[in-house]
Each structure stands twice: as C-alpha cells, then as structure tokens.
C-alpha cells in the first residue's frame, strides 16, 4: 500500500496480525477504498487554490510573456499582432530599438541592483544589531519589540509620504536637524536631487524593513543552545570572538533565508520609489519602468518584455539560490 496515509506501516502490520485472514481481506479492501476516497478529497480540497493560482498567476504570466512578442496596447488588449523579438531588440535604419537598447531600462536595472545590494546589506547589519540587543533580557523588552514592529506594519505608501514630508527640501525636519548640528549648511533636496534620491529611497527602505530582518534573526538567536555559550564563558573567551565563532555559523542558515526573502522583495520594489520620487528616471526600478511602459505609455508589448526580463532574472536568482542551498546541504551530509 504505497499510498496509504492514515496510519503508518507498523500499525498496519499489527492490525494484519491480529485479524483473521477473511477479515484481513475485508480490511484491506476497506483501507483501499478509504485511501482512494482520501486522495480524491485531497484533490477536491486543493481545487480552489489551484484554480485561483492558475487564474491570478499562471495564466497571466503566460499572457505577459506572449504579449511581450506583440504590439498590444493597454487601451484595447484584443487587437494586436505578433512582432517577434522587436520589443526586446530590433535594428532599423541604423538604430537599435527595444527594451534592451533603451538606456532608461539599463538605468532601472542598475538602480534596482544597487538598491537591492545596499539596502539588504545595511538591513542585515542593522537587523543583527537590533536582534542581538533584543536577545538580551531587560525590562520593557516586549515594548521595544512592539515599537520596532511599527515601521513594518505601516503601509509602504504611508511611509513614503511620511518620509517625503520629513525629507522635504524647505520644511523637512531632517534638513532642520542636520543644519542644527552643523552637518550641512544648505538644505538638501533629498528626493529631487539626482545624486541623493536613490539614497533617500534606500534610507526609507532600511527604516521600513530592518524590523523584519531583526525579527527573523532574533528568532534564530533564541533557538540557539545555551550550553555552547556556557562553555565559552567558562573558558573565558571574549564575547566578540564567541559571536563570530559560535553565533554567526549557527544562525547562518536562517539569516541566508531572510536575506534571500528580502533580496527577492527588493528586486521587485515598486510602491516606495513610485511615491517617494514620483517616476523620475534617476530612481526608476525595473518594476516602475515596466509599469510606466504598460500603463502610462500604453505599450503592453514593451512593458511585458520588461516584466518578462524581470521575471526571468528573479527566477534565475531563486533557482541559483536553491541549487546552492541543496549543494551545501549535500556537503553537510
């Protein structure tokens, strides 16, 4: 009975021993019927999510890939013709066209990668510091933990607006503070200045998602066995050394999962950039670029081509990560 699910083999065998041969056959027949019924109900129970996921994810993704080879327009998605790879790259009258020939696209790729690397690394460092702090026992720890959850819970749009106001070039409190302590002499145009805008986006993202990182790292810190630490303490090893030699290796797997989750999230960033720096080319991410082509320029072909490129980039990174993780696990074994 390979598909038998309810009880495991040992119990199964015990039952066969107790029963006589006649009732044994009946029992097996009963089990088979029961197993078949359970498998049927399993698929019935899965049907709603399979249908929903096919409708909201599977089919739309295939359509997006298909649209990337057409000249469809957002206003009317029923009329279009197949144009091959022209949305990606084409050569006409001595000029290159398509997403891959668009400087803005490469700008958005650079922005997205820069944003992802800088903000995720900063969140990792700050998140570790916050997690180590919260791992110590002190009165009011619960309140501090609740406080750091606030940035995570605030809608991205709201945090973009709140920071937009704090970073306001004339009336913003950040310029006021920095001028007050003498770090800058002139107010800075945080969100409008091309050199600063991406840094402003990174700053807000760090504020918003460090709590997530900190909580995941904290969870893995709290699962660590205390005996290693007691042994280290008895041997008089310096805490910093203990952190790098004991803590870091032990929490590494959980941290890698958290970093991957955050990186995948950061690669598709949209809301924050869209609201904080409103469509400026200097900070445009790949998602913002794709939506601009799709909706603002009504060019579904170009937009879908950009979306498809983003999708395969993220898919490749995920598959690469999974393979790496699997190899590491195999190595451990």
């Amino acid at each position: 009975m390979p598909e038998y699910s309810l009880s495991n083999q040992s119990e199964d065998g015990a039952m066969n021993d107790e029963d006589g041969s006649m009732s044994n056959i009946a029992a097996v027949a009963h089990h088979n019927r029961l197993t078949r019924q359970r498998i049927r109900s399993a698929w019935l129970f899965l049907a709603p999510i399979l249908v929903l996921l096919a409708l909201v994810a599977g089919w739309p993704l295939l359509r997006t890939i298909w649209f990337s080879f057409t000249d469809a327009s957002f206003a009317d998605l029923t009329v279009y013709s197949f144009i091959g790879f022209e949305n990606y790259l084409s050569y006409e009258d001595g000029e290159w066209y398509g997403v891959l020939a668009d400087q803005e696209w490469w700008g958005s790729v650079w922005n997205t990668l820069f944003f992802t690397v800088v903000s995720v690394s900063a969140e990792l460092v700050l998140g570790t510091i916050v997690a180590l702090t919260l791992n110590a026992k002190f009165p009011g720890r619960g309140l501090v933990r609740a406080a750091i959850l606030i940035p995570w819970a605030i809608p991205t749009i709201v945090s973009a607006k709140m920071w937009g106001w704090m970073l306001h070039d004339q009336f913003g409190i950040l310029n006021h503070m920095l001028q007050g302590i003498g770090l800058i002499s002139e107010p800075l145009a945080w969100t409008a200045n091309a050199d600063l805008a991406l840094w402003a986006v990174i700053m807000v993202d760090i504020w918003k998602t460090t709590p997530f990182m900190a909580l995941l790292i904290l969870a893995s810190l709290q699962m660590l066995p205390s005996d290693c630490y007691e042994a280290a303490k008895v041997d008089g090893i310096h805490p910093v050394r203990v952190f790098f030699k004991v803590t870091v290796p032990l929490i590494m797997p959980a941290v890698m999962v958290a970093v991957t989750f955050r990186a995948l999230d950061a690669l598709r960033v949209f809301d924050l950039i869209y609201v904080l720096t409103s469509n400026s080319a200097e900070t445009m991410s790949m998602s913002v670029y794709a939506r601009q082509q799709l909706v603002s320029f009504q060019d579904v072909g170009m937009g879908s081509a950009a979306s498809t490129l983003l999708f395969f980039m993220i898919a490749l990174i995920t598959i690469g990560y999974l393979c790496l993780g699997r190899r590491q696990m195999a190595g451990d074994n």
Binding site: S5, L34, R38, I39, S41, A42, F45, L46, P48, I49, L52, L53, V56, A57, W59, P60, L61, R63, T64, F74, L77, I129, T133, G142, R145, A146, I148, L149, I150, W152, A153, I154, P155, T156, I157, V158, M162, W165, Q170, F171, I173, W207, F212, A219, A254, V257, L267, F270, V275, M286, S287, A290, R291, L294, V300, S304, S307, T308, I314, T318
Partner: protein, 295 residues
C-alpha cells in the same frame, strides 16, 4: 582573583571598581542603543501625528513637540466622501481577502499536510514559486483576466488578484502547522465514519485557530497595504483603496501638496495597524518567522 586579593587587598578593590565602572558604562551604552532603536522606529510616525495636528502657517515651522492640537486636518479628511469610501473599500477588500485565503488555505493545508498523494510535492513547489512572482510580471495578463471576468474597477477584482500573494504564505504556514497536529485525533474521527470535510471543520479547525489568527492578520496587513494592483485595477475614486487614495491626494499644483491632510489620512490608515501590531505582536512575530524560517 582570590589568591591575588589575599596578596594585595588594595589591588582587589581597585580592580572591582574599574569593573563596576566598566559595567555601568556598558549598561549606559546599552540603554542608549535601545533608546536609539526605539526613537528611530517610532519617530516618523510620531512626526506624522505631530504634523497632522498643525494647521496654517504653523505647518511649515519645524517643531519637535506637539504644541498645537488642531483637528482641522482630520475634519477635512473625513469630510471627503471619496476618502471615507476608500476606507470602506479597504476594510471590505482586506476582510474578504482574509476570509478567502483562510478558507481555501485551510482546505489546501489539510490536503497537503495530512494526506499523502502523488503530486503533493509538485503542488507545494508551485505554491512556493508563486510567492516569488514579481507583481508587475502578471500585471498585463491579470488585467486581461479581470477585464474578462468583468471585475475591473471593482473591489472584488482586488480581492481576486490579492490571492496571488496571500494564498502562498497562508497555505505554507497552515500546512506546516497542520503537519504538527497529532494523528490520533484524525484517526478517531475516521473510525467514527466522518468525511474529510467533517474531520477538517469539526476536528482539525478548532485546533488551528492560533495559526489561522496569525496568517489572517498577516493577510489582512498585506491586503490593507497593497498598492500596485489597487492603482492599476481601479479607475474611479469610489472604488479605490486607501493607499491609492493617499498617494493621489494632491493640492492646487504639484508643488503644493496639502501635507497636513496627507498626514492626517496617513495616521487614520495606520492607527488600526499599529493597534493590531501592539495587541498581537507575539502572533505576528511567530507568523513571520514560521513563514520564512521554516520555509
């Protein structure tokens, strides 16, 4: 230490005092660190509240403490019919998303967590891979589906589309939880001749409430905060959700945003979430870590 103390009692004393001093300094540093963390987390929200209570020219003078208490901005926000309508839409959409995700997530989790069948691993991989889909990658295709189903510019279209990000983690967390339940319960129910549906609703579900509360909260927050789909799949003020409504609040010109009103609206939208977080922080933390670490 004791041996050297016996040899030289004074040295022991000085050694202890530097030790105490060092301990005090460490404690002070630790306290400073905690204050910095709390201040950094809470300040922007505090500043939004502070700004929302200001009016007129006072708005453009930086202050660090709440000096004026003017509810004018709140009155202005609440008297906008479109904002009240979008609040209502957000509540409707988020609640329905939670209901749909929990119902279907629970049945799927029962199938994936308790029944062994061929294709189970494949379904789990499909569910997990959907959670990494960039939303923009399905935008044009989903727009077409929503148009075809006649759900464009309709809150139900948003409920439908939000399942793309709520279902994967709901299914994932509930499956993990379902696997941990003792199998004796289920066996007893089956011996009594209960159908899978009865087993799920009458036997398993009462034990699933903690996990359902956690995933429900996370789904609610995710749906409440969503922006890209809400922006693309709605057209008129009456159908918008609050994140879009706030993003689209504008003044007489592009450079004259009504910051007081935006901050008041932001505070209104955020207060329910902050209350949820304060009340259920343990659940939320356990849900976040279950979704990521065990995944």
């Amino acid at each position: 230490m004791t041996r050297s103390a016996l040899r030289n009692p004074h040295r022991r004393y000085s050694f202890l005092s530097t030790r105490i001093l060092k301990k005090r300094a460490l404690q002070a540093g630790f306290l400073l660190l905690i204050s910095a963390i709390v201040l950094f987390s809470v300040f922007p929200f505090y500043y939004a509240i502070l700004t929302s209570l200001k009016s007129g020219p006072g708005l453009f003078e930086v202050s660090y403490w709440i000096e004026s208490f003017d509810l004018g901005n709140y009155q202005a926000v609440v008297s906008r019919d479109s904002f009240v309508q979008s609040l209502f839409n957000s509540v409707l959409v988020s609640t329905l998303v939670v209901a749909v995700s929990l119902l279907f997530g629970l049945t799927a989790a029962y199938a994936l967590g308790r029944i062994h069948f061929r294709g189970r691993g494949a379904v789990l991989i499909i569910v997990l891979s959907v959670s990494m889909f960039p939303q923009v990658a399905v935008l044009s295709g989903l727009f077409e589906v929503i148009r075809t189903l006649n759900l464009y510019n309709n809150p139900f279209g948003l409920v439908f589309s939000y399942t793309i990000f709520t279902l994967p983690f709901t299914v994932w967390v509930l499956t993990t939880f379902m696997k941990q339940l003792p199998k004796e319960l289920e066996e007893a129910a089956i011996v009594d001749g209960a159908t899978p549906w009865i087993t799920l609703t009458k036997v398993m579900m009462p034990l699933m409430w903690p996990a359902m509360a956690t995933t429900g909260l996370l789904a609610f927050i995710a749906a409440w905060n969503e922006f890209l789909f809400a922006l693309t799949f709605t057209l008129t003020d009456a159908q918008r959700t609050v994140p879009v409504a706030i993003a689209l609040i504008s003044g007489n010109s592009q450079y004259e945003l009504p910051w007081g009103i935006i901050m008041a609206a932001s505070v209104i939208v955020t207060v329910p979430l902050v209350l949820l977080v304060l009340a259920f922080q343990r659940r939320i933390v356990s849900g976040l870590t279950a979704g990521a670490v065990k995944g």
